[in-house]
C-alpha cells in the first residue's frame, strides 16, 4: 500500500511538471503580452483609465518578472514559486501577491463547490429513495425524467433558467452579490441541480438492487415495512459507494464553477483566471492553473484510492486504467 501510494505520488509530481510546462508554453505562445499591451495603450489614447507605464518602468518590470530570461528559467520561477508557496506579484494587481488573490478566491470557489455537492446529495437522497420505493410507478418515472433533465443540462443553462424563474418572474432571490447567505442560493442550486440527476439515478438503481436482494426481501416477507427496509438497510449499503459518483463530480466542479462565477459575477478563482487569460497576466494564469491541476490530480488519486477500498483487485493491480 505504501509503495503504491509513493509511486502514485511520484507519477502525480511528474504529471504536475508536464501540466505546468504545457500551460507555460501555451501561455507564452498566446499573442500579446501584458506589458506590451499596456505600452500600446499608452501610445494610442484609449478609454480613460487605461494609462500605461513609462518605458523606464517597463524595463524595471521586465527585469523584475524575469521576462528576458531563457524560457526554462522563467518556467522554473513559476513552478518553484508555486511549490514553495512563495509566488510573485500579479501583473495586473502589482501591489498584490498572487497568493493573496488565491487565498481569498480559491476558498470561495471550493466553498461554492462543496455547498453544491452537499446540496446535491441532500436533494438526491429523497428523490432516489422515493423513486426506488415506487419502482416503475408514475412517481418513479416522473422523478427520473427530471433527473435526466438535470444530467443533460449544463450548470450555466440551469443558472439562466433559475434567474428567469426566481428573479424575473417571482422577484424572490437576489441574483448578484456574495455578501448574504441568500445570495448563494442560485449559484449553488445551478451547480447542484445537474448533479442531482446523476446522484439520484445512481441511488435509485442501487437501492432497487438491494431491495431485490434476498436479505431485504426476507425482511419484508417477515413483516417489515418497505420504508423501514429502505431507510434501515438498503440506504446504508448504497450511500457509501455513492462516494465514487460524488468524487468525480466534485473534481468536475472544481473548474466547473468558472461559468457560474462569470454569470453571477462571483469573485472565485475561475473568475480571476478568465480575467488573467484575457490580459495575459502570466503569474496569475500560472499559479491558478497549477493550483487547479494539483487539486484535480489529488482528487483523481483520492478517487482511485476509494475505488481501491471497494475493490481490492485494483489495489493489487497498482493502477486503474
Amino acid at each position: 500500500m505504501v509503495r503504491f501510494l509513493a509511486r502514485r505520488l511520484a507519477y502525480m509530481f511528474i504529471a504536475f511538471l508536464c501540466i505546468s510546462l504545457v500551460t507555460f508554453m501555451l501561455m507564452k505562445m498566446a499573442p500579446g503580452s501584458f506589458f506590451n499591451a499596456n505600452f500600446q495603450v499608452n501610445g494610442v489614447s484609449a478609454v480613460a483609465g487605461s494609462y500605461g507605464v513609462s518605458p523606464q518602468v517597463m524595463d524595471a518590470l521586465i527585469k523584475y518578472y524575469h521576462l528576458n530570461d531563457p524560457w526554462y528559467v522563467q518556467w522554473w520561477y513559476y513552478v518553484h514559486g508555486f511549490l514553495t508557496w512563495h509566488m510573485g506579484t500579479s501583473f495586473e494587481y502589482p501591489g498584490t501577491r498572487t497568493v493573496t488573490i488565491i487565498d481569498t478566491a480559491f476558498p470561495f470557489s471550493v466553498r461554492l463547490a462543496l455547498m453544491a455537492v452537499a446540496t446535491g446529495v441532500i436533494i438526491a437522497i429523497p428523490i432516489g429513495v422515493t423513486a426506488a420505493m415506487r419502482e416503475n410507478g408514475w412517481m418513479d418515472v416522473g422523478l427520473m425524467f427530471f433527473a435526466m433533465l438535470g444530467t443533460s443540462l449544463p450548470a450555466y443553462l440551469v443558472a439562466v433558467l433559475l434567474i428567469v424563474l426566481f428573479a424575473l418572474w417571482l422577484h424572490l432571490l437576489p441574483v448578484i452579490g456574495f455578501t448574504h447567505p441568500q445570495d448563494f442560493i442560485l449559484p449553488v442550486l445551478s451547480l447542484a441541480l445537474p448533479m442531482v440527476g446523476a446522484l439520484s439515478r445512481y441511488l435509485r438503481n442501487s437501492l432497487i438492487d438491494s431491495l431485490h436482494s434476498e436479505y431485504v426481501t426476507g425482511v419484508i416477507a417477515k413483516g417489515g415495512s418497505l420504508s423501514r427496509a429502505v431507510w434501515r438497510h438498503a440506504l446504508r449499503n448504497s450511500l457509501l459507494p455513492m462516494i465514487t459518483v460524488v468524487g468525480p463530480q466534485l473534481a468536475g466542479l472544481m473548474t466547473g464553477t468558472v461559468f457560474i462565477e462569470e454569470i453571477f459575477d462571483l469573485p472565485g478563482l475561475g473568475h480571476y483566471f478568465v480575467g488573467a487569460a484575457n490580459v495575459r497576466d502570466y503569474p496569475l494564469i500560472m499559479d491558478s492553473a497549477l493550483l487547479y491541476a494539483t487539486v484535480i490530480l489529488a482528487m483523481n488519486l483520492l478517487v482511485d484510492l476509494t475505488y481501491g477500498l471497494f475493490d481490492p483487485r485494483i489495489r493489487r493491480a497498482g493502477d486503474l486504467g
Binding site: P31, Q40, V44, V47, A48, Y93, G95, P174, V175, N278
Partner: protein, 576 residues
Amino acid sequence: MKKVGRIVAPVTMAAVMALSMAGYSQAASAASSSGSGVFTFYTIDDGAGFDPALFTWDARQSQIGIFEGLVHFGPNFSIAQGIATSWKANGTTWTFYLRHNARFSNGDPVTAQDFVYSIRRAVNPQTAAMAHKASSFQGDVPIKNAQKIIEGAAPVSSLGVKAIGNYTLQFTLDRPDPTLLSQLATDMWQLPVDPRVVQGKPESIWTNPQTIVSDGPYMVSSYVQGTQEILKPNPYYYAKVPLQEIKILPFSANANEYLTYQNHQSDTAILTPQDVPAVKNNPTLSKQLHWVQTAVSYTLQVSPSMNPAFSKLAVRQAFAEAVNKQVIANNVLLGTGVPAYDGKVTSWMAPWIAKGALQYNPTQAQHLLAAAGYPGGKGFPTVRILTGSNPDPIAEAVAQMWQQTLGVNVQVDSENWGTYLADMTKVLPSNEVGFTQFGQSAAFPDWKTTMPLNISGWQRTNVPIWSMSGGYQAQYEKLQSYTMAPGQKNLESRMLIAKHESPQVRAVMALGVKAQATNNAALMQKYVIAKNHLAYVIPIYTVNNAVLINPQVHGYYPMRMWLVTPPVWLGYITMN
C-alpha cells in the same frame, strides 16, 4: 491622452451642462441632511490600491470623496472649495489659502507642507516605478520643472510647488494656464497624503483599510478587492458628513445592475441597452430613469496597412458617410448612445459639431468610392475591423452598413483583450485594409482643451502615424520594439513621422496649433471639423448612460468624463 492647452469657457460650459443635466435638478442640500443613510453604487475597482499618486481606477475613487484636494467639482462641473477656501492667480503664480481645520482620518492636520510632499511624491517618477504603475501626474499641467523631473533632469525638490507657512500653497507654472482649477478637480496628484503615514511604506498599504489614511469626508472602512468596499465618515472631517455609510460594488460587465437595483441592493444602476425598454415600460421605474451623456466615444480608426486604399481621402470619406450613426444609436443601442462626430469633442460639449461634420450620405459615399476606382466596391481589398470585445454588435452593425452600402467585403475580428492589443500594431498585408476600434474620451468637459499644443505632442497620436504608408508604418513599429534610450526613441520616431506623414494631416494639425496659440474659437471649430473631414477616425457614438437613481438619493452629479459616471463628489450625496 492629450489634453494639451485649453481655455476655460465657463459661460458656454454652464449652458451646456444645464441643458443636458436637466435630470439632476435637485439642489445639493447637504445642510438639511440627517446624517444617516447608506448609499450603494457601482464603480470600477481595479484592485490597484487607493494611492492618489498613481493612475488607477481606485485612485479615482480616492478623488471623489475619500481624499479631498485643493478643489473638487461641484454641480455642473463648477469648481468647489476643497481644502483650499480661496485662491488667486497672478500670471504664472497661483496661491491657494487652505482651511485650518482640515484633518486626516487619523487626526493629523492637513497642511501646505503635506500638499508639497504629496505632489512631489506623485510627480517623482520613482514613485510610479516602485509601484509598477503609471503616475497620476501625466505631465500635462505646466508646473515649473515638472517635465524635467519626469525626465530625470532635475531634482524633485525643484518642483514649482511650495508652502508659505502652514496654510498657504503656491504653484509656479511655466506658462499661464487658465484651466488649472479644472485640472486640479480632475486629477488625483493634487490629493494630500499624510507623510507621517506614507513615508517609506510599501505600496501594499494602499489596499489595506487599516493603513489608508485620507482627508476626505469618507474613509475606507473595509475593502475586499472585487467584492465590496465600505466607506465610513472621516471622524475628523471639518464638516458634518451627510451619510453614515457608502457601499461601493465593483462594476463588471457581468453584473446586471438593473436586477441589483430592483432588489434594492444598489441605489443606482447603469442600464444595458436591452434593459431600457423594460424600464421605460415600467411606470414606477421610468420616473427614476436619467440620461447622462458621457465624454466617452466609440470610434473606428484606420489601421496600418501595406495597401494604399485608405490613403485616398475620398475612400475614407466614403466609409465615414456610409455609416448611419443615428440608426445605430436609436435602433441598436436603444438610446444608450448618441451619434459622435469626434473622439473627444462630444455634441453635448459642442452642439455645432453635428452640422459641420461628415454626414450619413449613402449615395455620395457610393459615388466617392466609385470615383476612387472601386465602383460598387469592386476590387476593394477586404476590410477588417479589429475590436477588443466579443460580441461587438456595433462593429458588426458598421460592417453590415459598409457591406450593404459600399459593396465591400468586411470582416469583424472580435478578439479577446490581449490579442486585440497585440494585433493593433500589426501592419495589414497588401490585400487587406482595416479599422481598429478605440474608445476615446475627453479629460475635461471643455472641447477647447482638445487642441494640439505643439507639433511634437500631436505626432505621438495615432493619426499621423497611421497616415504614413504601410512600409513606413512597419518601420515605425520596428523602431518601437528596439531597446534604446526613451529620449532617443522618441526623437527618431518623431523624425520618421515628420518625414512621411500625410501633408493633409500636417495641414490640419498646423491649423489646430495656430488656433490654440491665437485662442481663436472660430479657428478651433474649423480645426475640429477639418479633423473630422480627414476621416482617419470615424466616430460612431458617444455613450449615453441610462441611469436609474433611487428617488431618495439627492446630490448625485454624474462625473461625465468617466464611462461609469459616478457622483463627482460623494460629500454631496444625501438620502431621505
